[in-house]
């Protein structure tokens, strides 16, 4: 056996001082309404590293790599154009159907992928959950955020499509980041609910693909929400993704904005986020036992 290596010198380390107040109290219960966001802030770098890991690993060992981020929405758009645009002749509010559906697919595919990733995020990292402490919130949230990279890639294709069909955005395009933010908030809100329930009840894993499929048709991706008359159109905002998709179209294509619906859907998104946060944090300490 080889000689023992010289020990790496240990820094004479900052003298450790004993604090007089406990930094952490375990088992105190704590108020169910206290969002432990300070703790989440402490671990902010973990968000970055997990997102970075997801992005880095996602297309490893694939032949086409990041091209998948383009192929998926592009192929879906083609199929929608043929079936719904041509065969069914669904209205597209006067825009070329490919641009119309792609502008809707862009936030939708981000949302559906984020939902899938977030709902399984705790289970997929069960080793981490069982062996390390960190705010569990980091897992579903970073799973959602990692989807933004695919979104950005797919967005470039949209620019190409708009150029091809000579669609010129209006000033409303400045609102686009807001609608993207709403999509993120909605995905995080629903993702928190689903991931927390999934930790306990694996039924969720089987239900999510079905929910996503159903939700797609409940969202004006292949059709415009102008098919509905008021007040139904505003009520449609109960589905926050309806607001996001119509918001995207407004910002990118300049369609007449269904403002009532958009405002209503934004409210629903916030409700989902806040309720998701509370629910998630009320059950997160049980995850290690049930996962």
């Amino acid at each position: 056996m080889s000689a023992v290596n010289t020990q790496p010198t240990v820094l004479p380390a900052e003298p450790v001082k004993a604090p007089h107040k406990p930094l952490v109290v375990i088992g105190s219960g704590g108020s169910p309404f206290a969002l432990r966001l300070r703790d989440v802030w402490e671990y902010r770098e973990l968000f970055y590293f997990l997102v970075w890991r997801d992005v880095k690993v996602r297309y490893k060992q694939t032949l086409l790599g990041a091209a998948w981020a383009i192929i998926q929405p592009l192929m879906t758009m083609l199929i929608f154009t043929i079936i719904f645009g041509r065969l069914a002749g669904i209205s597209s509010d006067g825009h070329p159907y490919p641009v119309f559906s792609y502008a809707g697919l862009l936030p939708w595919q981000f949302f559906s992928a984020a939902l899938g990733a977030a709902s399984n995020s705790l289970i997929n990292s069960s080793a981490m959950v069982r062996k390390v402490y960190f705010p569990r919130l980091v897992l579903p949230v970073s799973a959602v955020l990692a989807g933004l990279v695919d979104f950005a890639i797919a967005f470039v294709v949209l620019l190409g499509l708009m150029l091809f069909y000579q669609v010129v955005p209006t000033l409303a395009v400045l609102l686009l980041p807001l609608f993207l933010l709403q999509a993120v908030i909605t995905a995080i809100g629903v993702g928190l609910w689903l991931s927390a329930v999934n930790a306990r009840y694996r039924d969720v894993r089987h239900a999510v693909p079905f929910i996503v499929q159903f939700w797609l048709f409940a969202t004006p991706v292949v059709y415009p929400s102008s098919l509905l008359s008021e007040p139904w159109r505003t009520l449609f905002g109960l589905n926050p993704m309806a607001g996001v998709v119509e918001g995207f179209r407004w910002a990118l294509l300049g369609s007449a904005p269904p403002s009532g619906m958009i405002a209503f859907s934004a409210l629903i998104s916030l409700v989902l986020l806040v309720s998701g946060l509370f629910y998630f944090q009320s059950v997160e300490r049980k995850f290690a036992d049930v996962i």
Binding site: S2, V16, A18, Y43, M128, R285, K286
Partner: protein, 422 residues
Amino acid sequence: MTYAIRAQNLAKLYQIGQRREMAKYATLRDSLAGLLRRPLGRASVGSVDLWALNDISFDIKFGEVVGIIGRNGAGKSTLLKVLSRITDPTSGRAELYGRVASLLEVGTGFHPELTGRENVYLNGAILGMRKAEIDRNFDEIVAFAEIDKFIDTAVKFYSSGMYVRLAFAVAAHLSPEILIVDEVLAVGDARFQKKCLAKMQDVGQQGRTVLFVSHSMQAILRMCDRTILLDGGSVVADGPSHKVVNTYLGKDQGAMGQREWLDPARAPGGEVARLRAVRACDPAGVIENTVDIRTPIIIEMEYEVLKGGYVMIPHFYLVNDDNIRILTSIDMDPEWRRRLRPAGRYVSRVAIPGNFLAEGTIYVEAGLTTLEPQIGQWYEKDVATFQVADNMEGDSARGDWGGKIQGIVRPLLDWSTTYSGS
């Protein structure tokens, strides 16, 4: 007095159904069914309560290095999980006065597709290190892991030794005020284990508080001044390490390598025969608490036959730490086989060869049965206990491997490898 950890009446209840692999997670259907059956009660159909921790209290002063020992299932891991905030206690509370880092497993969150460098950052972040902190320690981590050439290679191409060294190196550079460590040192080769122990001792000497679970009594004695012994979820001993370790190994029966019944009235047995003593000793007759894995160990029982005229079968069972019966051994001495024994004192000995038992604690159970009529005269559990230890010198059955070895025995077998050309 400044405390680092104060635990008060910590308790943790598991419902066994919850814990079993098969029924680990519920389905909605089960819960709904449970709800139907007991509409108002808690849905706990078919589960058994298990208190993994039962009213645990202790205070740990700042800068103390405390060992935690106990048999499997004693509650050690659960205690660490509760103190690490991974799981909540069912009742009780604990206060932690400082930043806590816990190391219950090395390499948690390592991703095989990422390079060593990337994993250092990822794993560091998971363990609660800041990026700046990792930056600062990066070179030292790589040097400690001894993998500098491969730091930019994906870890899926690492040997298991390299993987573990890198994972431990990251963890070893955590600098929390309170460090909680599960049995993670039982990895890597012997030399690296020593290095890790030294590193942990340094951590302790920097005035940090360390809570350290181990099955290795040597490591506990070397690192910790104070040790807490858990059994059945409760603290059964808490004090200077050498005392607690002795309590643990001897199970309160005095010297653990031997047990004697000085008062015949209390000795196991009956009218036919009575057990007087059981000893585990080396070939020279010295009673041994710790046995080198390579050397034979003699186990003997001393007994008194009170009523002659029976054929007797003395026997031993050896049981390991996981409560697995390693073997049953029956007295085969031709001298007394099938022969009626006169009354008097006897000593029956068996030699367990070296390089046969696996490392760990061995509990001896002793029995004696008469033939015709077939009656068990006694069967006594845990009459002697000893530790089998490997000195890691490379000539035991573990060879040059320093990690965990599975199997309940560890014989040194003949191997040959032939080269058949390239």
